[in-house]
């Protein structure tokens, strides 16, 4: 096992280098590509930290969907404007900011090194609770997300809805109700079409599978939903499907399904189990999977909408 520390250091240096490239690259497109690469490297770090759920989420959402978002944005910006001479900050400001950044990084590193060796954590309680009558789940992260800190997760779904409405609101008044601009070119490359034909059905199945097993193994609603969202985006990029009209009823219902079901089940908890957001013992697992199913739907709908952007009046290509 003595190769591992060397690999760790290699991975760490690689990540820092790519992150630095993201920050100091001259060209916008280079910076975005560096960011996507760095996100994938981070997924490896998460696996090294024994966090497969997080690795899945980082790969799917943090690097995958965010990458599509940033690349699309970069392309739309770069397509029209020439190399705009931006006002570069003067050297004094650079030194000052550099000093500040170094100071913050060192203070943070010191704080991290000074963290207590065996922090008093909740891990033991969560283990006994997860497998006990509390939730009966094999995946403690799902237990934390949907059972113990369900309030956080419900609020986070509301945050997603808010972001979608916020993105929609940036469109023009005249375009309201239309569909966002298509994600792909009007004549998608054959490679893209081929990829979509192969990938989309398989990816959809894998996404559903990840959600389903997430109760007891790494996975869950966020990861499964993100994968389904990615598959829909792939299909849209190959022009198999178009972004829907934002006033479509099914779209609105799909968007709110997750938080709405969460809200109703949470309110019902007071009669079912004596407390808001409590689950009756013995029924916790089916209820959790029920809520997660609707969460998957909402996430699969919301993420592509966030990438697609505000409604547009006409189609640009």
């Amino acid at each position: 096992m003595n190769i591992l520390p060397f690999l760790d250091i290699l991975l760490a240096s690689l990540i820092v280098t790519v992150a630095a490239s993201t920050v100091v690259a001259r060209d916008l497109f280079a910076a975005v590509v560096s960011y996507v690469a760095y996100g994938l490297l981070l997924a490896f770090v998460w696996i090294r930290l024994y966090a497969p759920d997080v690795a899945l989420t980082e790969a799917a959402v943090g690097s995958g969907v965010t990458g599509v978002l940033l690349i699309t944005a970069g392309k739309r910006l770069a397509a029209i404007r020439k190399a705009e001479p931006e006002a570069q900050p003067g050297p004094a400001l650079k030194w000052l900011t550099g000093a500040l950044a170094v100071l913050v990084a060192c203070a943070l590193a010191a704080a991290i090194l000074m963290l207590p060796d065996v922090p008093p954590s909740l891990a033991p309680e969560a283990v006994t609770a997860a497998s006990g009558p509390g939730a009966g789940l094999g995946n403690p992260i799902t237990a934390v997300l949907i059972s113990y800190r369900s309030f956080d997760t419900m609020l986070e779904k509301v945050v997603l809805i808010l972001a979608v409405v916020g993105v929609w609101s940036i469109g023009k008044d005249a375009a309201w109700g239309n569909a966002p601009a298509p994600l792909g070119r009007s004549r998608p490359s054959p490679a893209m079409v081929f990829l979509a034909q192969i990938l989309a059905p398989i990816g959809t199945l894998i996404g559903i599978h990840i959600f389903w097993v997430g109760a007891d193994a790494p996975g869950g609603a966020f990861q499964g939903g993100a994968l389904l969202a990615a598959m829909w985006m792939v299909a849209m990029m190959a022009r198999f499907d178009e972004p829907p009209r934002i006033d479509a009823k099914w779209l609105r219902l799909g968007l709110v399904a997750g938080p709405a079901v969460f809200l109703v089940v949470g309110l019902a908890g007071i009669s079912m189990a004596g407390n808001f957001f409590a689950y009756p013992p013995g029924f916790a697992k089916p209820i959790i999977i029920f809520i997660e199913a609707f969460m998957v739907l909402s996430i699969a709908v919301a993420l592509p909408l966030l990438v697609a952007g505000p409604p547009s009046e006409g189609y640009e290509t």
Binding site: A12, A19, A20, V32, L49, R81, A101, A109, I170
Partner: protein, 112 residues
């Protein structure tokens, strides 16, 4: 040096790098990229805390990991909102700058 300590130091470095980029770059999309770098650094700090919280039976503490998952999704939503604003600003005004003086037009006829 254990993997978690190394990861923690990487996290601290990322926060520093991202902060540098966030303050310095004039272009909002670069600022957004830098913000995401900071975000990932913060999540790494959560991650090492999760790893250090390993106890009997579990190799990690699930609470910080759940927070990271929430944080990743929220950070993506924030990026999407920022991108929409940047693109909207570009399509409305033809340029993207955060300098407020660029938008004030002199002249008495300019009113609310």
């Amino acid at each position: 040096m254990s993997p978690s300590t190394l990861a923690g130091l990487v996290g601290a470095t990322l926060v520093g790098l991202g902060l540098y980029g966030l303050v310095l770059h004039p272009h909002p999309l670069r600022k957004l990229l830098a913000f995401n770098v900071i975000g990932n650094g913060v999540f790494l700090v959560f991650g090492i805390i999760a790893r250090r919280g390993a106890a009997a039976g579990l190799s990690f503490d699930p609470v910080p990991q759940a927070m990271v998952i929430t944080g990743i999704v929220v950070a993506f939503a924030a990026s999407a909102l920022a991108v929409a604003l940047i693109l909207g600003l570009y399509s409305e005004a033809g340029r993207v700058t955060l300098d407020p003086d660029a938008w004030t037009k002199p002249g008495p006829e300019e009113g609310k």
